[in-house]
Each structure stands twice: as structure tokens, then as C-alpha cells.
């Protein structure tokens, strides 16, 4: 009871400042509760909208037209049915002359059965099916400034644009960015002539069953029944889709969780340092209480109680703010998830946030508070007495540090879900914090060691503040540095990726790829390209196939060996020469030999567990083909040109269904656009990808990801600013006293202010510089190992950041110290006496 009363009384005069400390934890909790709320909403949303994800209960998909057996089976299933044929193709908007690779979908029936196609005008989603009309992705229309009522040429047929397609159930904005969908009625598909021998088509049969049959079971049975007649099919149910989406959500969740984790830990570091400063001012009062007979435990409880209440208030405020933030979040992730996510703040999440925040505040306050427990009562009679830690307290201190680390791990565990990820989070953050702390230490040491004695008195005083007792160097370096590091790493990595893609088109490098060229069109297309005065850099055949058996053992009996490499579709070619981008790393290149041989890319060979001399059986669209692995190649994938995992010797695949790919280079965007327009007119089934399109698409997607990361970095920076304000105000007491003494000795107010300016400028510059240097390392690592591109930092942006961070520090620092230089010295000195 006395402890409670003392805790309340003792906080008098400090409450305002203590509340400021709490905002550090509040921001972390706001981030945490908002992100947790979002992840709950995503899970619920996916469960509720499961059937909308597919737009049907069941989807059967194949790369080949369905067999008669399959058609008969579909007829016997009952329920409502729809058909869809999808292919990638160039479309032409005649009004503007624009061409773009699009996903053409020919639809029959009332798909989607669940959810709806969103269109403008809304009636267009249904009406386009009635005539020669198309529903066209809004992004595509905007790109070429086309309007409803204009026309669009798909293959050989020109359609009237019935409306803008705004959304398809189960599909994300990111996906439609990459390949904008164009929906046409099924009956015009044949006339478009897009379906050709060898072109890549997906056939889909979609079902809705209004009885309560077991769809999952049905899917299994269909797969089994059609395994002979249609070995290529894939059967998907809404639940499968939901599970796959669940994985995406968990990844997103983990990513968001990391943001919340960092913001909260930064807040915790802020609380720890604020409490440290607070305790330093309280030690004398503690000593008096101790000399009057209070035990160390009682004194500790007074301040633990204060820290707990602080944590509680901060977390509650954070939980409330988090609920508000939550409402703005769906817009940020909308592009990555199909359907809509409806968020509503929940009491459970709020309570969870409050208990997490309070515990973290207590755990991180405990270490600095131990000073209270070991404060010697001698301080009451000897101001200069320094009480060292007692042996027992050392044990306590170790214990508290372990507890805090354990708390951080548990938090990460809650956010990441998996123990190994949690460990990675905790260890990763610890390493980043330690690196920043180490940099702070080194910088502090070097300023001290190489102190610029020739500078003016004011500058020297300001710089000396960096290493004097009660300095804020470590705290600010860590909080500001971490924020800068996060944002800059992200930006540097993004810039590297974009720079890499732009370089791909540089100097005589190929920058346009034409594919889906039929064998009888190769000469025509080649001539067309040459007429445009563009070089034919490569013209290669492509044959689609799967692996049927390794060393005579069928794939089905191989279990999980090989993973994706075993089950993927291989688009292969045949030729007698090695390409520029390839190098032989094993075996003998087949050259012109007549023996049926294949050359594998070394990585995929390793994955499959095969080496030179082994036999491989491929399933070439139904036909088995057995060849010997003759050689292994390494491939440089970083070029805009067709590269292949499997290259066959000539004389094996010539008769197989195939299409051709032509690689060329157009120097100007206009030339490339003209080529594509001519192609669409003459060979509508031929598709083109050009560098501009890739650049635009990647940039767009990176932008969306960046928005999300920036949002999380914002929390980190906001916490950094609050920690900065809190730490400035924590040391204010000390500052006021110093300023009074300096002014008593004759310093002017202006001089005192300039010292503060120098100190914060130095801190901001050093923190920014450290964060940016670490970001260069982080960005380099991401570029090198994750994106596998050349590291290309955005120097102008980094230089800008190096200006902004110190400016922000100076602003906040001076704001927090306002009035310090104006308190009358006498007042301060009397108080101190």
C-alpha cells in the first residue's frame, strides 16, 4: 500500500515527461495491434470469401483440349458449368495504335459463380457475352487512353470494348498488372485464330454444385478417372486455393510482423533509456528513503510500479491508436490479396497488445531500475558517493537481460509463428542493434581520441557532449540509425533491381522477344523484322515437355525427390551450338552427333539427381522420348533472351509440336512499338515482350511493395523521433543545470544554443551516416544474394537522406531543449544548492 502511495507521490512533477516516454511504447503497440488486427481480418476474409477465390467450387485445367472421356465425365457431374480458354497474346488498340501482351480469356457460361466481375459500366460484366464485345482491363485502357465503345483487336477479330474490367474474384491487382486480362465471348475464340498448334493455351472447365457433395473428394476422383486420357490435368477446389492463399497471407503476415516487432523493440529501447535517465535523477531520493529505513525491494517496487503503469497507459493508448490505424491498412495490402479485406478492431487484439506492451515495458525498464535496488543510502550524506553493483545485483542484472531477451523472443514467436523464424527475427534484430551500438561506441571513441582541438570553443563543447557522462550518443545512434537503415536498405535494393533491368537493354543487348511463332510463320516474321532494319539475334524452336522417368523409374514412383524440377513444364529447344550465355561444365557437348542426347543446366541436374550418362525419359505432349544426358551447362539467366534448362541434340524434336522464339533489338521505343503493331496485324498469334513493358511492370510491383515497407519503416522512424524527443527531454534536467553554470561563468544564451546545435548536428550526421553505411551493406546483400543483381545504390537519394536525418535531429533536439538557455541561472543554482 505504502509502495503504491509512494509510487504515485514520487511521480509528481515527472508525469508529463513520463507520459512522453510512454508514447515510445505506444507507437510500437499501435503498429503491433494494427498489424495483428489486419492479419486476423485477412484470415477471416479468406475463409469467408473462399468460394469467391475461384469463382467456382471446382476447376479442372489442362494445357491440351479435354479428351472425349473428360467431356463425358463433365457432362455426368451436373451442377452449373462454365468454360474458359486462356492464352497470352498481343492485343491492338487501333484508335491509339497501342499493342500490349495480354491474357485473353474466352468465356462461356456464367462464370464467376461466386463473387462478381466488377466493371464500369456494371452491366458490361454480363452484356459483353451477348455480342462481339470485350471486357478490357482498366489499366490497359488507361495506358492507351482508350474509352468504352472503342475497339480492340484480339487475334483476327476486332471487338467493341463493352466496359472497363475493374476486378476478377480471386485475382490480385499485382497479377493483372503483369498480364492485363481481356475477356471475350467463347464463340469468337476460333475466329481469333489464337489457338494454334504448339501455342500455350489453358483450357478450364468450371463447376458450381448447389448440393452438398464433397468437392474435395470429387476432385480426387476426377484426377484418378482422367489420369490416362488427360494426364496433363490439374484439379483445383476453392479449398486448395484457400490453402495456397493462406501461405501468401502467412508470408505477408510475417513481413508485417517484422515491422511491428522492430517498432516495438525500438520503443522498448526508448523506455529503457528514458527510465535510465529518470532513475539517475531519483537516486538521491531513493538514498534518503533507504536511510529512513526503506528496503531495497520496497524502493525497487515503487519504480517498477511506475514503469508498469507507464507501460499500461502507453499500451492502452497504442491499442486505441492501433485500432484507428487498422482501418487505413486494407488499402495498403489490397493489391496483394484477392477480394476485399474488411477490418474491425477487436477487443481481444487490443487486450493482447496492452498486455504485450506492459510486459515489454516492464522487462526493459527492469535493468535500469536495478540501480534503485542497489542504491546506497550513503548517497544521502555523500553526494559524490558512487555505489557499485553488489554481487547479488550482478546476478539480477544478468537475469533481467536474459528475461528481456526471452520476452523479445516470445514476442517474435507470437508474430512469426515459427520458432526458427522467431529466433532469426530476434537474433537478426540483436545483430543490427549491436552493430549500431558498436558503431556508436566506435564513433564516440574516435571523436574523443581525434578531438579537433583547433575548433572554436562552442564547437568543441558541442562535440564533447557526445562522450561526456549522461550523453545520448548510444541511444540516438541506435534509434535513428535503425530507422535510417531500414528505409535506406529498402530503397537501395529497389534501385539496384531497377538499374539492373534498365541495363539489360543497353548496348546491342536484345530488348524484344517475339514468341508463339508457328513453324510456317518463321520466315515471314524474320522478314518482317529485317524489313524494320532490326537484327535477328536468335530464332529458336521451343518444345514443351514434362519429365516422365529418370533412369527408367517413372516420376510417380520417385516421391518428392527433385521437387519442382521433377514436376515442372520444361520448355526446351534443340541446336548444335552452345549459346553465348552458356558454358559447358560437364560431359561432352553433343554438337552435330546423331545420338539422341540432352544437355542439362547444371543446377537442375543436381536438383534431379542425374549426371552425365544417365538416361531421362521426357513426356513430349503425350509422346515418350528417352535420351541420355550428354553434358551439363551453366547458364547466365540475366539476359533478355530465351535460355533453356534442356537443350536437345538436333534430329530428335523436329517433329514435335513447337513454336519459335525470335530475339531482336530495336533502338527506339517507337521502332519497337511499330514492330509490334505490324506483327499484330499480320501474325496476331505472335506475342512480344519488350524491355519497356518489363521495366514498367517491375517498377509498378516494386512500388506497391515499397509502399508497404515504407509504411512499416514509418512506424520505426516515428518511434525513433519519439525516442529522440524523450531522450532529449530526459537529459533536459542536466542541460538546464549545465547551461546555468555556463552562463554564470559568462556564456551567452546564443553560445549555449549553438553548443546544442553542434551536438545534435553531430549526432544526427553520425546516426544517419551509420544507418546509411549499414544500409549500403544490407542493400548490397539483398542485391547480391536475394535479387542476384549488380549493386546499384541511389547516391542522390542517399545524399538527400544524409541531409534530412541530421536536420530532423537538430529540429527535434532544439525543440526538446527550448528554453534551456533561458532559465535564469540563479534559479537553477539555488535549486541545486
Amino acid at each position: 500500500m505504502w509502495v503504491l502511495r509512494m509510487a504515485w507521490r514520487d511521480s509528481r512533477g515527472f508525469r508529463q515527461r513520463l507520459l512522453l516516454y510512454t508514447s515510445a511504447i505506444a507507437i510500437g503497440i499501435a503498429a503491433l495491434t494494427a498489424l495483428r488486427g489486419l492479419s486476423h481480418a485477412m484470415e477471416e476474409g479468406v475463409a469467408q470469401q473462399a468460394s469467391e477465390l475461384l469463382g467456382a467450387d471446382l476447376e479442372v485445367e489442362s494445357d491440351l483440349p479435354f479428351s472425349a472421356t473428360a467431356e463425358a465425365l463433365f457432362d455426368s457431374l451436373g451442377g452449373r458449368r462454365a468454360r474458359m480458354v486462356e492464352t497470352l497474346s498481343m492485343v491492338l488498340l487501333p484508335e491509339s495504335g497501342g499493342t500490349r501482351l495480354s491474357e485473353v480469356r474466352a468465356i462461356r457460361g456464367n462464370w464467376p459463380f461466386y463473387g462478381e466481375l466488377r466493371s464500369d459500366p456494371p452491366t458490361a460484366a454480363l452484356s459483353f457475352r451477348q455480342g462481339r464485345e470485350a471486357l478490357v482491363d482498366n489499366g490497359l485502357l488507361l495506358q492507351y487512353e482508350a474509352e468504352v465503345g472503342d475497339s480492340i483487336k484480339v487475334g483476327r477479330v476486332t471487338f467493341r470494348i463493352a466496359g472497363r474490367l475493374l476486378g476478377i474474384p480471386g485475382e490480385t491487382a499485382v497479377r493483372t498488372d503483369v498480364r492485363p486480362p481481356v475477356l471475350i465471348p467463347y464463340e469468337y475464340l476460333a475466329q481469333t485464330e489464337l489457338v494454334q498448334y504448339g501455342s500455350r493455351i489453358e483450357y478450364k472447365a468450371l463447376f458450381r454444385f448447389d448440393d452438398d457433395r464433397d468437392v474435395q473428394d470429387l476432385a480426387e476422383r476426377i484426377k484418378e478417372r482422367l489420369s490416362r486420357s488427360d494426364p496433363d490435368i490439374d484439379v483445383d477446389t476453392a479449398r486448395d486455393r484457400q490453402q495456397r492463399l493462406g501461405r501468401t497471407i502467412r508470408n505477408l503476415d510475417r513481413f508485417l510482423g517484422l515491422g511491428g516487432f522492430i517498432a516495438l523493440l525500438l520503443g522498448a529501447v526508448g523506455v529503457a533509456s528514458a527510465i535510465h535517465a529518470y532513475v539517475e535523477q531519483k537516486l538521491e531520493s531513493v538514498a534518503v528513503l533507504r536511510s529512513l529505513g526503506a528496503t531495497g525491494g520496497q524502493a525497487l517496487r515503487i519504480y517498477l510500479l511506475q514503469a508498469g503503469v507507464l507501460g499500461l497507459i502507453g499500451s492502452t493508448a497504442g491499442a486505441i491508436a492501433g485500432a484507428a490505424v487498422l482501418l487505413t491498412l486494407p488499402a495498403l495490402i489490397a493489391d496483394f490479396l484477392p477480394g476485399t479485406v474488411r477490418v474491425s478492431p477487436s477487443l481481444g487484439t487490443a487486450l493482447e497488445g496492452i498486455s504485450i506492451g506492459t510486459s515489454i515495458a516492464l522487462l526493459f525498464a527492469a535493468r535500469p531500475l536495478l540501480a534503485v535496488r542497489s542504491a546506497s543510502p550513503l548517497l544521502a550524506i555523500r553526494a559524490s558517493y558512487e555505489s557499485g553493483l553488489r554481487a547479488g545485483d550482478r546476478v539480477w542484472r544478468g537475469l533481467v537481460v536474459v528475461l528481456a531477451a526471452g520476452g523479445a523472443y516470445l514476442l517474435a514467436r507470437l508474430l512469426a509463428g515459427r520458432p526458427d523464424h522467431a529466433l532469426f527475427f530476434t537474433a537478426g534484430t540483436a545483430v543490427a542493434l549491436m552493430l549500431l551500438a558498436l558503431s556508436a561506441h566506435l564513433l564516440r571513441g574516435s571523436v574523443r581520441r581525434f578531438f579537433p582541438r583547433s575548433l572554436s570553443y562552442v564547437t568543441r563543447q558541442g562535440l564533447a557532449n557526445l562522450y561526456r557522462p549522461h550523453n545520448q550518443t548510444l541511444l540516438l545512434m541506435v534509434s535513428l540509425g535503425l530507422g535510417t537503415f531500414l528505409v535506406a536498405t529498402l530503397y537501395t535494393a529497389q534501385n539496384s533491381v531497377l538499374a539492373h533491368i534498365s541495363q539489360l537493354g543497353g548496348e546491342a543487348q536484345p530488348n524484344v522477344v517475339l514468341f508463339d511463332i508457328q513453324s510456317d510463320q518463321t520466315e515471314g516474321v524474320r522478314q518482317l523484322v529485317q524489313q524494320m532494319e532490326m537484327p535477328v539475334l536468335q530464332l529458336v524452336p521451343v518444345v514443351s515437355m514434362h519429365i516422365g522417368a529418370i533412369g527408367g523409374v517413372p516420376v510417380d514412383s520417385l516421391g518428392d525427390q527433385g521437387g519442382w524440377a521433377l514436376r515442372r513444364e520444361y520448355r526446351s529447344t534443340y541446336r548444335s551450338e552452345l549459346a553465348d550465355s552458356e558454358a559447358l561444365v560437364g560431359g561432352t557437348w553433343h554438337g552435330d552427333t546423331v545420338q539422341a542426347a540432352v544437355s542439362l543446366e547444371a543446377g537442375v541436374a543436381q536438383r534431379l539427381g542425374v549426371s552425365v550418362g544417365d538416361s531421362l525419359t521426357f513426356d513430349v505432349q503425350g509422346m515418350p522420348l528417352t535420351v541420355v544426358v550428354g553434358s551439363l551447362r551453366s547458364v547466365d539467366w540475366q539476359r533478355i533472351m530465351p535460355n533453356f534448362l534442356c537443350v536437345f541434340s538436333p534430329g530428335v524434336l523436329e517433329a514435335a509440336p513447337q513454336f519459335h522464339v525470335l530475339v531482336t533489338r530495336g533502338d527506339s521505343p517507337e521502332a519497337r512499338a511499330l514492330l509490334q503493331r505490324r506483327l499484330v496485324e499480320k501474325y496476331p498469334n505472335v506475342s512480344a515482350i519488350d524491355l519497356d513493358l518489363i521495366l514498367r511492370t517491375v517498377d509498378d510491383i516494386l512500388d506497391r511493395v515499397a509502399a508497404l515497407v515504407r509504411f512499416m519503416a514509418l512506424f520505426s522512424v516515428a518511434t525513433g523521433v519519439v525516442v529522440l524527443i524523450a531522450s532529449v527531454s530526459a537529459s533536459r534536467f542536466q542541460r538546464v543545470r549545465e547551461s546555468a553554470l555556463l552562463r554564470t561563468l559568462g556564456a551567452s544564451q546564443q553560445q549555449v544554443q549553438r553548443m546544442l546545435l553542434v551536438e545534435y548536428a553531430a549526432l544526427g550526421t553520425l546516426a544517419g551516416l551509420t544507418g546509411l553505411l549499414l544500409a549500403l551493406g544490407g542493400g548490397w546483400g539483398l542485391a547480391r544474394f536475394v535479387f542476384e543483381v549488380t549493386f546499384a545504390p541511389a547516391w542522390d537519394w542517399l545524399a538527400g537522406a544524409l541531409l534530412v536525418v541530421p536536420l530532423l535531429t537538430i529540429l527535434v533536439g532544439l525543440f526538446g531543449s527550448r528554453g534551456v538557455a533561458r532559465v535564469p541561472p540563479l534559479e537553477v543554482l539555488r535549486r541545486a544548492g
Binding site: W2, R12, S285, S291, G293, P377, L378, R831
Partner: protein, 231 residues
């Protein structure tokens, strides 16, 4: 008369850099209950250290301090705190009022620590007794030095301690205010029958005590006690 404080062969050394600094050396004296004693000596002679050790604020390097029959050296820091709570009152040179507590709250702390009820009422009475009845809810910064030390005296006497240690109680006050505080100290001491041990430079103040122990360089060089009291 029983002894309330028994100091035997007390030595205290501090580590200073790489050598030991002896602040007190073989100090021995006994103090009988209800008496008044002054410890005097020049700056650095070890007066405050001696006071701190007698009150159990610090540990001895050698020798024994027995407070009300209980040797302090075997007690933990917290056990010594509990002993202080029961037996000891303190008056500090720089008053040492807790800045966030009002006058009456400061005075009530010792009783509250003992868990006694009616602490605030008794604190208010005592503040009235020291002439601050109208300043109960003022905070230390709102009081003059003399007023602060009167609050300090009230706090020191409120739980009627067996022994009261005063460290230069008038050292931070002007002559007139100091004299008034001195008078009050001795009055309260008489009223409560407390044993008083004070540390001072002020020979006049020391002269008002029944006994004077003079320290120089950490050793007792003079003790005015009757021979019977000395050993």
C-alpha cells in the same frame, strides 16, 4: 545507564586507484541512552564516514558497530534498513527532503514505512509543533532553507527514534536560522528522550552537547566523556 551505541575498533578503508585509503582507524567509543554527543574535527577527518557507519549506511572494513545491542556487521543491507526504520532518526546537512513529497508527506514517511496508521495526522501535529502548521502541503522548493530543515527535524523525530544522527544540521543555514534550528533540535530531543549524535564543525553547537569526540585523520584524539563512559 545502557549503551545504545557501541563502536569497537572501527576501521574503514576505501580503495582509491591502486592503493587503500584509511579513513577511520581503530575508533572505539560507547554512547549511553538519552545522552547528547558531538563528533567534531576538521574536513576530511572522517566524521561523516563515522556517522554513516554508526547508522549502518555502509559496511565496516574491520571492527564492530553495535546498535541497541545488535552487531551490524552480520546484517544485510535490508536488515540494516529495517533496524534504522525502528531505531534511527536522521537529520541531514542539505535537508534531503524528497522533492516530490509535500512537507507533511515527507514527515510521515518513517511512520508509513513502519505501517503505522494516522501517520498524516501525527506528521501534521509535529509540523505544527515546529511552527509550520500552515505549510503542510508545500513542496520543498516552496520552503526556505530554515523551513526545510524544520521539516527535516519533524521527520527525524516523528517515530521517536532511540538514536538520532544529525550531520551538520545547521551547516547550510545562516547564523540566526541555524540557532533557531539548533534550539528546536535540543527541545525535541529533550521531549522525546532520544539519544543524539551530531557531527559538526561548529564548536558552539558541539558545546551544547554533553560530550565531544574529536577526530583527526580518522582517529579519536579527544573524548570529553567521563572515564567510565569512555570504555
Amino acid at each position: 545507564m545502557t549503551d545504545v551505541l557501541d563502536v569497537r575498533d572501527l576501521t574503514r578503508t576505501y580503495r582509491s586507484g591502486d592503493r587503500d585509503l584509511t579513513v577511520l582507524q581503530s575508533v572505539t567509543f560507547r554512547i549511553a541512552a538519552g545522552t547528547t554527543s558531538a563528533i567534531v574535527g576538521p574536513s576530511g577527518s572522517g566524521k561523516t564516514t563515522l556517522l554513516g557507519l554508526c547508522a549502518g549506511l555502509d559496511r565496516t572494513s574491520a571492527g564492530t558497530v553495535i546498535l541497541d545491542g545488535r552487531p551490524l556487521e552480520h546484517l544485510s543491507e535490508d536488515e540494516r534498513a529495517l533496524l534504522r526504520r525502528e531505531l534511527v532518526g536522521f537529520v541531514f546537512q542539505n535537508f534531503q527532503l524528497i522533492p516530490t513529497l509535500s512537507a507533511v508527506e515527507n514527515v510521515a514517511v518513517p511512520l508509513e514505512l513502519r505501517g503505522e496508521s494516522g501517520a498524516r495526522e501525527r506528521a501534521a501535529e509535529l509540523l505544527d509543533r515546529v511552527g509550520l502548521g500552515d505549510r503542510l502541503d508545500h513542496y520543498p522548493v516552496q520552503l526556505s532553507g530554515g523551513e526545510q530543515q524544520r521539516v527535516g527535524l519533524a521527520r527525524a523525530f516523528i517515530h521517536r527514534p532511540k538514536i538520532l544522527f544529525a550531520d551538520e544540521p545547521t551547516g547550510n543555514l545562516d547564523a540566526d536560522t541555524g540557532a533557531a534550528v539548533e534550539d528546536l533540535l535540543f527541545e525535541l530531543n529533550r521531549e522525546t528522550g532520544t539519544t543524539l549524535v551530531l557531527v559538526t564543525h561548529d564548536i558552539d553547537l558541539a558545546g551544547r552537547c554533553g560530550r565531544m569526540i574529536r577526530l583527526r585523520a580518522g582517529a579519536v584524539v579527544e573524548d570529553t566523556a567521563a572515564p567510565a563512559e569512555r570504555d
